[in-house]
Symmetry: C2
Subunit: 406 residues, 2 copies
């Protein structure tokens, strides 16, 4: 069950974006597994993709198409990652784009394909193409939730957010959806996320804003330390809200817009961790007073990726020695352990690099029994502070991943 | 159960080293938990310690003592790591050294302390000191196995090796013991290992040889990617075999000796992985034709630390997409995926970066059902090849680490 995450089914439509989802039979059992998002002419699209060198065919195709044309359609399937298949995978992705392009009279470059699911099995091109005409008929501004359901894999709940923000006297709407539960580690972006807004933003600025937001959200989460081959975060700005075009970052409007996008990405990123495979705890790592951002994130990642810390969290065992050991191997440049302090929620465990005399095991136990825990590490060697989010490691993580293909 | 690892109880005594072990009551339940090794005058000792910055008090003390004197005694306890306790931990380690030194009329700097077990609990100094006189009475050349039993924590079997090697017409004896099962990741040396030999080796050369061996053995294993706070590998050369002193690396004798030590370290390192917490599979990662050693080890570590690869191994599921994804995020400098090939045992799965047309799932399944598997990654971009060893990730890993302190 997702930790402290309820389905939010009340989503704002975004003018200029129509969506549809259906069951195309990609999964053996009947469930939604194919989705389409149509962008009205004039929509600008920003994208960030996985940096895994074995990126999937749809990632390669989507990047290429983005370089060549403005997107009209996003075609997304679950149940098959179309990865690890070389030229056959590439051809399969192109074939689905061609089919949709022919039906709609657009260029294949106006279509961005996305896939998520098992690696190494041939994409069922026929099943996808057969379902496309039906999807085109169902396109509607109200189908965000259906699309989210169609792109889930081991997720147990949808991850959605809608916001209305007043920016420069104008109401702007935002809706974002995401999937992701395993193979989650920050190296942009180990999941799929699609965010729509009716703001009007120049493509270059939109890309800058998305990268800013992703670096503060999806690049700061870990479920299992594995970076997926497929993942992408897409931001679509339709320009239908009527506010002037944002074409530079030197305005209050642009900064407010960037904040709104960052907030949405942080919410969705946290939602992925809350629904991490087998997760029973949601943990915020608050790394304070580091020398620089990189140092803070190094410490956070060492704790977040530690199977020993994660199993202790699962067991509600305040085994702080494992947190200490993780910090100790994080590769700090000029470590001075006598400055380091560690807190769980507001209780100090370590001060000046050693066990606080006031700490009691029962206090620690009480905090570790909570579903949501903040671990603060104060490095006391600089002025930079950063946050990172992770979950615990349970029997269910092993079960889910041992049974994944059976 | 340890994978393909039987207890070897037939250990060679090493002239010049006497050992003893007993139950000092450090563990709640009665079991051997304290050991002593006495080195005869003239023994040279080389040591490699954990690089974790939160290294335990005994590591700090042992390093300092090694700088000041030749060791006469190694005092080793299980059940308590004496880590994370700051000055109190340091004082406790010194107190045990002082006690033993006073009894034996040596300097405290001639004693090296070692601890392994739970982090953050005060070392029971009295229990240790009370047991020391009994240990001194029992010292014998034949107690290697008893010492190994006394230093185990979550290990299920002892890890021992004895060898006799003819070097320069002379028979040299070697005996090594190790412990380690969790918190195992290569950053020297995430376990305890003690190796004795009756060769005669100058201290500087002995240190060089040990570092060479450790870099090819203990620094190439991973159970869970966590680097311990406590660990150490100690090589003691008593000089009792009668062969001339090895005082340079420019002789056949020195090179043969170094090979023997490396073989012993590789055996013990593999034994630690075979007995990894919850392990049901022993996996050799053979990374071939990389640009340099670092590149090969990067790829190996990415696979070895991947919870997704490890859970697939546990499930005997040849989910090669996860191996591919791990290589893809390893951070290769100039990756050319079209050159990469992946084999499991002798079956090719990936060639030229994509699925081999000859590969069948049933072949993969048959290999992944074996207890011992070799995963070969041919990078085809250089001439360097390196090996690395890891195990799978099972329910038992979670159970062992969730229940560790209960």
């Amino acid at each position: 069950m997702a930790v402290g995450l309820k389905e939010n089914t009340d989503l704002l439509p975004i003018k200029g974006l129509k969506l549809a989802a259906c069951s195309a039979g990609i999964y053996k059992k009947q469930r939604p597994d194919l989705a389409l998002i149509a962008c009205e002419l004039g929509t600008t699209v920003a994208a960030v993709f996985t940096r895994n060198i074995f990126c999937a065919a749809p990632v390669t195709v989507a990047k290429k198409h983005l370089d060549n044309d403005s997107p009209s359609f996003l075609l997304i399937n679950a149940g098959n990652a179309n990865a690890g298949l070389g030229k056959a995978g590439y051809d399969a992705a192109i074939e689905t784009c061609n089919y949709l392009a022919n039906l709609c009279g657009c260029k294949k470059e106006a279509i961005l394909p996305f896939s998520t699911g098992v690696i190494g099995e041939p994409l069922p091109v026929d099943k996808i193409c057969n379902a496309i005409p039906g999807l085109l008929e169902q396109l509607s501004e109200d189908n965000w939730l259906d699309v989210n359901r169609a792109i889930l894999t081991t997720d147990t709940v949808t991850k959605t957010i809608s916001r209305q923000v007043t920016i420069g006297n104008q109401q702007i709407s935002f809706t974002g959806i995401a999937k992701g539960s395993g193979m989650i580690r920050p190296d942009m972006a180990t999941m799929l996320a699609f965010i729509g807004t009716d703001a009007s933003v120049n493509t270059d600025i939109l890309n800058e804003i998305l990268m800013h937001a992703v670096n503060r959200s999806f690049n700061r989460i870990s479920v299992d330390g594995d970076t997926s081959t497929n993942d992408a975060c897409i931001l679509m700005a339709t320009g239908k809200s009527g506010i002037p075009v944002i074409d530079s970052l030197n305005s209050d409007t642009a900064v407010e817009f960037r904040e709104a996008i960052t907030d949405i990405c942080v919410y969705l990123a946290q939602a992925i961790v809350r629904d991490g495979e087998g997760a029973t705890k949601f943990v915020t790592l608050d790394i304070r007073n580091g020398f620089d951002t990189e140092e803070c994130l190094k410490v956070a990642a060492a704790i977040a990726h530690s199977p020993l810390v994660k199993t202790a969290l699962f067991a509600s065992d305040p085994n702080w020695g494992r947190i200490l050991a993780a910090i100790g191997r994080a590769g700090l440049e000029n470590p001075d352990i006598r400055k380091i302090a560690i807190y769980i929620d507001n209780v100090c465990i370590i001060e000046h690099g050693e066990l606080s005399p006031d700490y009691t095991e029962s206090e620690g136990k009480a905090i570790f029994q909570k579903e949501e825990i903040t671990i603060t590490v104060d490095l006391n060697c600089g002025t930079e502070s950063q946050q990172f989010w992770t979950c615990d490691f349970s029997y269910d993580y092993v079960r889910i991943n041992a049974e994944y293909r059976t």
